[in-house]
C-alpha cells in the first residue's frame, strides 16, 4: 500500500520512535481435538497460570441444598391457559420476578400453635396469659392469598402430655357456651353433622323426648343423640366427646357396608364430603326408624318421619311403549343438582327447583316390553312439606363450584309452594312478595351447614360446621348468632363469613333448613316425663351373688339424693406413640378405655353404703388389656359365655346413670372426672362431690390417693389386692361423711394440715 502525505516540508515531522499499533494477537491454532458427545472436556488443555483461576468461587459463600421445589400458587395454575404445552397466566405480582422463596421455613400462613399444657402454664406462671387470645385466630384478609385457609378453619389436634388429656387447654379453642366435640375418636368426622342436628330444634326435641322414654334398643342412634345433646347442653361450653354415639354407630354393620367408617378406608377412595353426605342420608332414615320403635307419648309413630321426609312420586315412562308408572320416591335428604349448560348462573332457588324436579334418562326394565330400555323419569312433588329440609350440596363438578364461588349466593330463607303438582321455590325480595300474596307458602330458614375444608395437599381435608345457634334459644329469635364448630374449636363468626364459600378451600357438604314456624320451639318437658323404670328393675335372681340390692320404689331418688359411685375400665386399644425422625416422642392417642363395671351405692338412709347398681358391661370389642390390678376385671368377666356376673349392655348401664343424673342425684366418689369422661357423661359441678377435691391442699399441689386417705383418715387398709369398685365407692362415701363430721366440728382444715 502507498501512504501519501501532503504538506509543507518544514512542518512535516515524523516521530522517531513510534508506538506500534495494537493488533489482536494472531489467533493461536485451537487444539486439534474432536469433542464428541462422550469425549472428556479436558482434551482441550489449559494454559499455564500464575494467578488464581477465574473459575474459582469465593470459599465463604454458603449454599443450601435439599430445598423442596418451589410451589406454584394454585390460583395461578387454575388460571393458566395451555398453548403448546406451556401454560400462560397473568402474573399476580405477589413477589419480585424470580424472588427467592425461603422454602426452608415450612410454616403455613394462619397456622396457630397449640397452647402450652396446663401443667406447663402452672409451672411458668400465668404471665403471658393476658395476651389477647383473639390474635392468633384473626386472619387479616390482605395477608391471605385467595387459597390460604384462615387459622380457625385449620384442623385442630389434641395434644397429650404425660398427664393425659386433662392437661390440654381446650379453653384456648372455645370460650363460648357451646360445647365442641373432641377428635381422636373413630368416625369423629361426623362431629359437625351432630352439632348441626343438635341446633335444629325439631330434631333435638324429638331426640330428647325419645331418650327419656324406655327405649332399650342397643343400636338406637336416636337415644344416643339424645344422650349426646343433653351432655352438650349440660357441659355449657366445656369440651365433650361423642364416644358412645360413635361407638354405637360404629357397631352398625349397615353403615359399614355403606362405607361410612373412617377405619381402613384409604383416603383417596371416598371424599370426606361424600362420606358425610352418605352419613346424613343414613342418619336421617335411621333416626326416623328408631323413633318408630318407641314413639313419644301421644304422637304417631311416623311423626318424625313425616317431619323429615320430602315425599314425591317418580313418574317413569318407557321410551318404547310409552307406559307410565308412578313410584313413590321419598327421601330424607335431597341432593342438589346443578344445571349443566346454564347460560348464566341461576339463583339458589332455581337450582333447588331443578334438583327436585330433575328429569332423567336411565336404562331400566320395562315390565310391558319385557326388556331393558331407556326410560325417562320425572319427579312430582306432592303436597307434603317436611319440617326439616336437608340438602347434600354435592359441589364436586367445576360448574357447581362456580355457583358456590358467587358471593352471597346461599339465601337465608327460601319459600316453597306446591301447587297443582308443581313445585315452586322463591327467595329474596321475590319471596317477600309471594308471602303477602300466597298464604300457602312455606318458609324455610337456614339453620346451618357442614362444609369441607381442603387445605393444601399436605393436609388432609376435614369438616366443620357453621351453625346459627340462635334457633335453639328458647323464646323469640332476635338476631342470628353464627358459630364455627371445628371439632373442639368453637368461635362466633359473622353471617357473611358463614354463608360464603371459596372453592379453593371451603365448600358446603350438607345444608339444613327448617320451617320458620319451628324456630325456637324448645320443648324441655321431657325432664318431667323421664321413664325411671330401669332403676327399679330386679336383677335376675340366678346371678344374685353380690351384695347388690335394687332400689325399691320408696327409695325413689330425688334432687339432692346422695349416691356413691365408682367405675372400672378395661383397655380396648393400647396407647399409641409417635417417634419422629429427630427422635422426639409424642403420645398421639392415650390408650382407649371402655367402661367395664360401674357400682352405685346408697349414700344415705338405713341402707347407706349398700350398692343398688353393680353392672358389668358386656364388651363386644376385643380387650387388649384388662388392667386387672386397677380394675379388678379378669379375662372372661365381660364375656356373656363365661362371666360369673350379670352382664348388661353399655346402654342400660349408661341409662341408669343418666336417669340418676337427670333426677338430680349428687354423685360422691374419688377422681370422678376421669370416670365420667370415659363413661361419656357430663355431670354438672353442683352434682359432684369428689373426695379428690375435698381432700386437696392447694399449697401442696398434690392429689392424694384413695388408699392413702382411707389409711390416714379411716385407719383402714383398702386396695390390698385388685381394686373393687364397691369398696372404692364405699370408701369415698365414708371419707365424705368423715369430712362432714370434721366440718361440723370445724376441724377439717386442721385435720387436713396434719
Amino acid at each position: 500500500a502507498i501512504l501519501q502525505l501532503w504538506g509543507k516540508p518544514d512542518k512535516i515531522r515524523f516521530t522517531e520512535l513510534s508506538n506500534p499499533v495494537e493488533w489482536a494477537s494472531v489467533p493461536s491454532q485451537p487444539p486439534n481435538v474432536d469433542l464428541r458427545e462422550d469425549s472428556p472436556l479436558s482434551l482441550v488443555g489449559m494454559p499455564y497460570y500464575r494467578e488464581q483461576l477465574l473459575s474459582a468461587w469465593p470459599s465463604h459463600l454458603v449454599f443450601e441444598v435439599g430445598k423442596p421445589p418451589p410451589k406454584i400458587d394454585s390460583d395461578i395454575l387454575a388460571k393458566q391457559k395451555l398453548h403448546d404445552y406451556v401454560g400462560y397466566a397473568p402474573n399476580p405480582r405477589r413477589t419480585r420476578r424470580y424472588q427467592v422463596e425461603s422454602t426452608k421455613v415450612q410454616e403455613k400462613p394462619g397456622q396457630v400453635q397449640a397452647p402450652r399444657f396446663r401443667s406447663e402454664k402452672a409451672l411458668q406462671g400465668e404471665s403471658d396469659d393476658r395476651i389477647d387470645e383473639n390474635t392468633p385466630w384473626s386472619a387479616v384478609a390482605g395477608e391471605l392469598r385467595p387459597f390460604d385457609v384462615p387459622a380457625m378453619y385449620h384442623k385442630v389436634e389434641i395434644k397429650y402430655s404425660r398427664f393425659g388429656v386433662d392437661d390440654f387447654d381446650f379453653e384456648f379453642y372455645n370460650k363460648t357456651n357451646y360445647s365442641g366435640l373432641e377428635t381422636h375418636i373413630t368416625n369423629s368426622y361426623s362431629n359437625p353433622l351432630l352439632q348441626l342436628l343438635k341446633f335444629t330444634p325439631m330434631i333435638k326435641n324429638y331426640a330428647l323426648h325419645h331418650t327419656a322414654r324406655n327405649c332399650l334398643t342397643e343400636t338406637c342412634l336416636l337415644c344416643e343423640l339424645g344422650f349426646l345433646f343433653d351432655m352438650l347442653d349440660k357441659a355449657n361450653g366445656q369440651n365433650c366427646q361423642a364416644t358412645n354415639f360413635l361407638k354405637t354407630f360404629s357397631s352398625i354393620s349397615q353403615a359399614s357396608a355403606m362405607g361410612l367408617f373412617e377405619e381402613g378406608m384409604p383416603r383417596s377412595n371416598q371424599s370426606l364430603t361424600g362420606m358425610i353426605q352418605s352419613l346424613n342420608r343414613f342418619l336421617m332414615e335411621k333416626i326416623a326408624t328408631d323413633f318408630k320403635s318407641c314413639p313419644i307419648e301421644g304422637r304417631d309413630e311416623s311423626d318424625m318421619e313425616n317431619a323429615l321426609i320430602t315425599s314425591s312420586m317418580t313418574c317413569i315412562k318407557c321410551s318404547n311403549c310409552g307406559t307410565e308408572t308412578m313410584r313413590p320416591s321419598n327421601s330424607f335428604v335431597r341432593e342438589l343438582a346443578y344445571p349443566k349448560k346454564a347460560k348464566s348462573l341461576g339463583s339458589f332457588s332455581t337450582v333447588l327447583k331443578h334438583s327436585i324436579e330433575r328429569d332423567g334418562q336411565t336404562r331400566g326394565w320395562c315390565d310391558k316390553c319385557r326388556r331393558y330400555l331407556s326410560l325417562t323419569t320425572k319427579k312430582v312433588v306432592q303436597d307434603v312439606q317436611p319440617k326439616v329440609l336437608m340438602f347434600n350440596a354435592a359441589a364436586i363438578s367445576p360448574e357447581s363450584k362456580m355457583y358456590w364461588a358467587e358471593k352471597n349466593w346461599l339465601p337465608r330463607e327460601i319459600g316453597i309452594v306446591v301447587q297443582d303438582k308443581k313445585f315452586l321455590c322463591y327467595q329474596g325480595t321475590e319471596l317477600n312478595k309471594v308471602k303477602e300474596r300466597n298464604p300457602n307458602v312455606v318458609v324455610y330458614e337456614l339453620v346451618g351447614l357442614v362444609a369441607e375444608i381442603t387445605g393444601d395437599q399436605d393436609t388432609p381435608p376435614h369438616l366443620v360446621g357453621l351453625i346459627d345457634v340462635s334457633f335453639t334459644n328458647p323464646g323469640e329469635r332476635k338476631e342470628s348468632s353464627w358459630h364455627l364448630f371445628n371439632d373442639f374449636l368453637v368461635r362466633p363468626v359473622s353471617q357473611e363469613e358463614a354463608m360464603n364459600f371459596a372453592p379453593a378451600w371451603k365448600l358446603p357438604s350438607v345444608l339444613c333448613f327448617q320451617q320458620k314456624s319451628e324456630s325456637n320451639v324448645v320443648d324441655n318437658s321431657w325432664t318431667e316425663r323421664l321413664d325411671t323404670g330401669l332403676l327399679f328393675k330386679e336383677i335376675p335372681l340366678a346371678l344374685m351373688n353380690t351384695t347388690c340390692r335394687t332400689l325399691s320404689i320408696q327409695e325413689n331418688p330425688t334432687p339432692g339424693t346422695v349416691v356413691a359411685i365408682d367405675a372400672e375400665f378395661v383397655a380396648l386399644q393400647k396407647e399409641e406413640i409417635e417417634v419422629k425422625a429427630d427422635g422426639t416422642r409424642e403420645m398421639i392417642r392415650p390408650s382407649r378405655l371402655s367402661l367395664a363395671r360401674v357400682s352405685v351405692l346408697r349414700g344415705n338412709g338405713e341402707a347407706e353404703g349398700v350398692p343398688f347398681i353393680d353392672d358389668y358391661i358386656h364388651t363386644k370389642e376385643p380387650v387388649v388389656d384388662y388392667l386387672t390390678l386397677f380394675s379388678g376385671i379378669e379375662p372372661g368377666d365381660l364375656d356373656p359365655m363365661q362371666s360369673r356376673h350379670a352382664l348388661v349392655s353399655l346402654k342400660v348401664a349408661y341409662k341408669k346413670l343418666w336417669i340418676l343424673l337427670n333426677l338430680g342425684c349428687i354423685f360422691v366418689g374419688h377422681g370422678l372426672l376421669k370416670d365420667f369422661r370415659i363413661i361419656n357423661i357430663h355431670v354438672p359441678k353442683e352434682q359432684v362431690i369428689d373426695t379428690v377435691n375435698i381432700y386437696f391442699k392447694p399449697s401442696r399441689q398434690r392429689k392424694l390417693s384413695l388408699r392413702f386417705l382411707a389409711y390416714y383418715f379411716l385407719r383402714q387398709n383398702i386396695q390390698t389386692g385388685n381394686h373393687d369398685s364397691i369398696e372404692d365407692a364405699n370408701t369415698a362415701l365414708r371419707l365424705y361423711k368423715k369430712y362432714l363430721e370434721f366440718e361440723d366440728a370445724g376441724i377439717f382444715e386442721q385435720m387436713l394440715n396434719n
Binding site: 487444539p31 472428556p40 497460570y49 477465574l54 473459575s55 441444598v65 435439599g66 406413640i577 409417635e578
Partner: protein
C-alpha cells in the same frame, strides 16, 4: 512486534492423560473374572441413575413427611392392576400394606428411600429404638437404614423406614424370576459356558451376602430379610441386603433368640442361593432334587457350601469362621475384582476433571450477563466492564461463517474459556454489536472485568 506471540502459551496443562492399568488382549474368561462388577458403559449407566434420581411424577401429590419432601412412589415390582380404575395393590411382605417412595431430605439434600408400612401403630417406644443399632451397621452389601419414625401425614398410622436410595436398583426376584428376566428362559445344565457364568455369579452373590452377614451378626443382629425380593442388585453383580431392621421393629416382641434368628439367616441364605442356582424360585419345594441338580451342574464346593448352610456342622451351630473357610478363595477373587473396578473408575474420573471448573466459570458468566436490573443502570456504558463481557460472550458463542451462518464450535468455546480462566496476555478483537467499533483486549483484562462485575454482584447480594 511478533514478540507478543511469545505470550501465547500452548494449551497444555490439565490435559487428559489415560490413567491406570491397561488391559489389552485379555482372554474372554479373564475378562469375566476381572470385570465382575464392571458395567460396560459406565457413562450411560450413571446418566440413567441421575435421571432416575431426579424424576418426579407431577400429577401425584404426596405429602411431605417429616423432613422429607418430593415423594415419588416407586412400587414398580407390584403387579399392575387389572381394571382400568383399579387401585394399585401394594406389596405386603411385612404383614402390613407397604409402600416405597423416593424422597429428598431437606436437611442434607440427599435422596432417600422411604418404606412405609400402613396401619402400623407403635405402642412400645423400645421397638423403634432398635433401629439405632442398625444405623451403625455399615457394610457395602447392606442398604443402610438411616431412620425410622411414625407418621400420620398419609391419613393413617404409618411407620416409615429411611434407607439409602439406589437408582434403578432391581430386586433379585425381578432379576432372576421376574417376567422380563434375562434368566427366564435359561436352563442350566445344558450350556457349559453359561454354567460357568452362573457359577461365577453365584459365588459373587455368596461372597457379598456372607460379607453382609458377617457385619450384621458381629453387630449382634440378624438380617431376617435374606429373600430374593429383599435383596437389591444395584450395579452389575453388586447386591445389597435391603429392608434390614424392619422385622426387628414390627416383631419386637417376637420372643425368638438372637442365636435362632442368626441360624435362620444361614438357612435363608442357602435357600436363596439354591433357588438362583436352579433358576427356580420354588427350588426349595423339592430340596433333594434341587441339590442333586446343583451337584450335577456345578463343582462340588458349591453343593458342599449349601449343605453346610442347610444342615450346619455335625456338632454345634453354624459359625462365620467355618462358613468363610469354605469360600476364602472366592472372597479373594471378588476382592481382586473390586480393586480392578476401582482402577477403572479412577481412570474414568481422571478424564472428567476439568468439568467442574468450566461449570463454575460459565455460571459466573450467567450471573453477570443480561441482568435486567443492570439494563437501566446509568453506569452501563460503552466502556463499562459488563459491556466488554457481553461482547466477549458474543465472541465466544456467536461465531459465524462467511455466509453468516452460526458456527457451533465447542473447541473454540473451551479454548476461549480456558484462556480466560487463566487470564493469558493473548489479545483478541471484539466487535461492537453495531459493527462500528473494534475493541482490542487481552484475556487478562477480560478476566479482571469479570472479577470486578462478579464481586460487585456479591457485594449487593
Amino acid at each position: 512486534y511478533y514478540g507478543q506471540q511469545s505470550y501465547q502459551q500452548p494449551l497444555q496443562y490439565h490435559l487428559y492423560a489415560p490413567l491406570g492399568p491397561h488391559k489389552q488382549n485379555l482372554l474372554s474368561f479373564q475378562r469375566t473374572v476381572h470385570d465382575i462388577f464392571l458395567k460396560d458403559n459406565i457413562r450411560e449407566d450413571l446418566q440413567k441413575k441421575a435421571e432416575a434420581t431426579l424424576q418426579v411424577i407431577p400429577s401425584i401429590t404426596l405429602p411431605n413427611v417429616d423432613s422429607y419432601h418430593s415423594l415419588v412412589p416407586l412400587d414398580l415390582h407390584v403387579a399392575k392392576p387389572q381394571g382400568k380404575n383399579a387401585q394399585p395393590q401394594p406389596a405386603s411382605t411385612f404383614g402390613h400394606t407397604s409402600w416405597v417412595y423416593k424422597a429428598t431430605n431437606n436437611k442434607d439434600g440427599l435422596v432417600y428411600i422411604l418404606r412405609r408400612l400402613e396401619g402400623f401403630r407403635l405402642s412400645n417406644e423400645k421397638a423403634i429404638r432398635v433401629v439405632e443399632h442398625w444405623k451403625r451397621v455399615l457394610n457395602a452389601n447392606v442398604v443402610t437404614v438411616h431412620d425410622a419414625f411414625t407418621t400420620r401425614v398419609f391419613g393413617d398410622n404409618s411407620i416409615v423406614f429411611v434407607f439409602d436410595y439406589f437408582p434403578n436398583a432391581q430386586t433379585l426376584q425381578e432379576v432372576h424370576f421376574g417376567t422380563n428376566s434375562r434368566y427366564q428362559n435359561r436352563h442350566h445344565g445344558t450350556n457349559q459356558n453359561q454354567n460357568a457364568n452362573t457359577e461365577h455369579m453365584l459365588w459373587t452373590y455368596i461372597v457379598q451376602i456372607a460379607s453382609a452377614l458377617k457385619t450384621i451378626h458381629a453387630a449382634g443382629l440378624a438380617a431376617r430379610t435374606i429373600q430374593p425380593n429383599k435383596i437389591l442388585l444395584t450395579n452389575k453383580n453388586r447386591i445389597r441386603i435391603n429392608c434390614c431392621s424392619i422385622f426387628d421393629v414390627i416383631h419386637y416382641e417376637g420372643g425368638r433368640t438372637l442365636l435362632d434368628l442368626q441360624q435362620d439367616d444361614y438357612v435363608a441364605f442357602g435357600k436363596l442361593i439354591l433357588s438362583i442356582a436352579c433358576n427356580n424360585p420354588h427350588a426349595m419345594h423339592n430340596a433333594q432334587k434341587s441339590m442333586d441338580f446343583v451337584g450335577r451342574t456345578f463343582p462340588s464346593d458349591l453343593k458342599n457350601f449349601l449343605l453346610y448352610l442347610f444342615n450346619g456342622p455335625t456338632v454345634g451351630v453354624r459359625t462365620m469362621e467355618e462358613m468363610f473357610s469354605m469360600i476364602s478363595f472366592q472372597v479373594i477373587q471378588n476382592f481382586d475384582s473390586s480393586l480392578h473396578q476401582n482402577d477403572v473408575l479412577e481412570s474414568q474420573l481422571s478424564k472428567e476433571l476439568e468439568n467442574a471448573r468450566l461449570v463454575r466459570l460459565l455460571c459466573k458468566f450467567g450471573f453477570i450477563n443480561e441482568r435486567p436490573e443492570f439494563a437501566h443502570d446509568h453506569k452501563w456504558s460503552e466502556t463499562g466492564d459488563r459491556y466488554l463481557i457481553m461482547l466477549f460472550r458474543d465472541y465466544v458463542f456467536h461465531q459465524v461463517d462467511e455466509n453468516g451462518n452460526p458456527v457451533l464450535d465447542l473447541v473454540h468455546v473451551l479454548t476461549c474459556l480456558n484462556k480466560l480462566d487463566a487470564g493469558t496476555d493473548e489479545k483478541i478483537m471484539l466487535v461492537s454489536r453495531d459493527e462500528q467499533n473494534c475493541l482490542i483486549v487481552t484475556f487478562r483484562e477480560l478476566k479482571r472485568a469479570i472479577e470486578a462485575s462478579f464481586s460487585e454482584l456479591q457485594k449487593r447480594g
